[in-house]
Amino acid sequence: MKARLNIALLAAAIVCLILKGSSDQLNLEDSALPLALCLDLDQNDELHIYTSSPVFGKNIKKKTHEIDVKARALRQSRTMQNEQSPGFVQGRNVQVILIGRRMLQHKDWFRLTDIFFRDARNTITDRMIAVDGPVSEIIYLNLEDQPMIPSLLRGMVDTKSAVSETANTTAQELRRQFIDTGITPSMAEIKLKNKVILLTGTTLLHKNGTYAASLGPQETVLLSILQKKAKPGVSFSYLIPGQPKSGPFETDTLSFSAGKIKTKIKTSYRQGRFQFDINIKSAVTLSERLFPYDVYKNANALEQKVAEQMEGQFESLIAKIQQHHIDPIGLGLYARSYEHKQYKKVEDHWADELSDAKIKVSVDIKIGAMGPVK
């Protein structure tokens, strides 16, 4: 009796699965899987959506298939992409999302990305990259000596962000930066120069999504130190004043890699403005010293000089941030946590408030090791 009942139940389950289980299956052969999704405006400010999908085939020379459609929105563009594609275009394998500079001249472009979050089948860890120039130049670039563009870009962002030389902003992270009132968005920036793709650093955006400024690799390292994201191993290189130069060689160069970096941010509100006291501590390892110097005896003096140089760099970075009315560091999060009442009054225009804030940076550098040679 019992066995019969169990068999009946099992049979019912199988019938159900056979009836309906295969209705929404999609064979890999019938799908096109774009690895890169690109958004840009053309000369007439019309939205173009580009995709780049890998092509599998023995006799096909070009390994990727690019599609360019004019569309109003991403999902709406799907049918037009399907027209040009051998299979159904799927959004779930996108690795990188490129945004053209012309897009960044207009506000509210971020609303177009709603589909990433609303369609549960999309991944949200795609890397966001801003292109300094038109996107089409990059997406149609067919390099023979390099992997296809999407994997090239993804690799670039993942490896360079590991040493903090660019921002590793996923779609989800970008959404946080757009929606959270205490931070403004930033993402990786690439540029095409003489048919070579360069990862030039970080693009900083205003709260509404328009372009504000760019940071180079070294500035990005500093930014990530302020964001408390820098991992041990980030490297710096400075010209130490007072050291002799020799001919065309800049022999006053000192390079070092930082160990664990401790960033402390103290928040206060005084005399009608926010104040942030930022203290950065690190023990560094020298990796390059092109001038004679007795580090044994005079380590302190050298530490001080390096700290001064770094402080100067931090100050100019902060001046840049305040001048453009942005907050890529996320100081608003500190203000919200430690000066909640004052912050709530200004949260809608936090970046403007920050441009008026007092931000002090102090750096404590200790030379922990000088390498195998003296």
């Binding site: 019912a12 699965l17 549960a120 949200i124 989800q172 959404r175 946080r176 959270d180 909640h340």
Partner: protein, 370 residues
Amino acid sequence: MKDYANNQITLLQYIFIITGLQVNVSIVSLPRNLAETAGTDGWMSIIIGWVISAAASIAIIRVMKNHPEGTLLDLLTRFMGMWAGKVISLLLSLYYFYILYDGLTRTILITKAWLLPTIPNFILMILLLIPTYAIAQHGPSVLGRYAELIAYMSLWIPFVYILTLKNAHWLHLLPMFKDGWQPILSAVKETIYPSLGMAATFILYPFLKHKEKAATGILISTSLSMVVYLFFTVICFLYYSPDDISNYNDVVISVLKSIEFKFVERIEVIFIAYHLFLYSLVWIPTMYLTTYCTSWLFRQSDHRGHMTWLCVLLAIGTIIYSPTFNQSDRLENLLTWIGFGTEYVFPVCLAVYLWIRKSSKRRPAHEGKA
């Protein structure tokens, strides 16, 4: 009437049944609901809610102690008469059915949204009902074993959630008491819905092997649920910006999307498929409890006949009607208040009533029935 001795459940199984009834599909939107009312202070509401439900659970055990060899229905028949038992058995079966239906439809909605968007609701319903019937028909001891098994199988889930801490922003939790106590207290009502399930004790009590430890058991399970809620809520608060968290419907699932593995693209798919085990801990026990109450009402010794009919009814009912997300939310809101009445107010009143009755009986001057 029922064979309690052959269907015993151990204390551990009892703990897991109650915790399973509490921690299930209801947890998916809990962090969002808390954040909507109390911001990132919402985690404190969980602790307050825990104190309240611990008190309510003690009241339930106090009531049941009055008649340890029977269910609440037998107890009421003994103390208040035949009809009280009948009315309560009808109401209680409706209540269990409500939890069952809410759990099932919510699970179907979530499965459809995240996993199988094109499969019709009734097929999913049938697929869920088949294992439910297979387990629930055997009664409490098999329910207990099932709950225990699922609890052990789910031990790895927290570890995966810890991976999301890579992107945690601890600053989100500060400052505490942003806007004072008022929002924290008003968010306590969001913790009622996920705490529902203690009422299973009304029926399961006589099946317990060690009845003297029942109070400890129910306290452990409410505490366990509290820890689980706290864990998931804090994880979500740390990951999502306080300005954004209310935009996600199923926060506890969405947060998994941030995890990246080299070998699997959409980790949350595996999770939802796995979570179905956890979610099943709400409707499998309630399926038994519902049919226990109805078969008690009609004086039948076997609940299986009713269970078959209930399954058929649910399957056919889903073809005709299944709630949308908004309707399901409304069902949930209503359940919060009905559940509050059934699991918090009712047992406390009953405990007070029984206590007064007992103490008045002890006095020799007052005799007769109350």
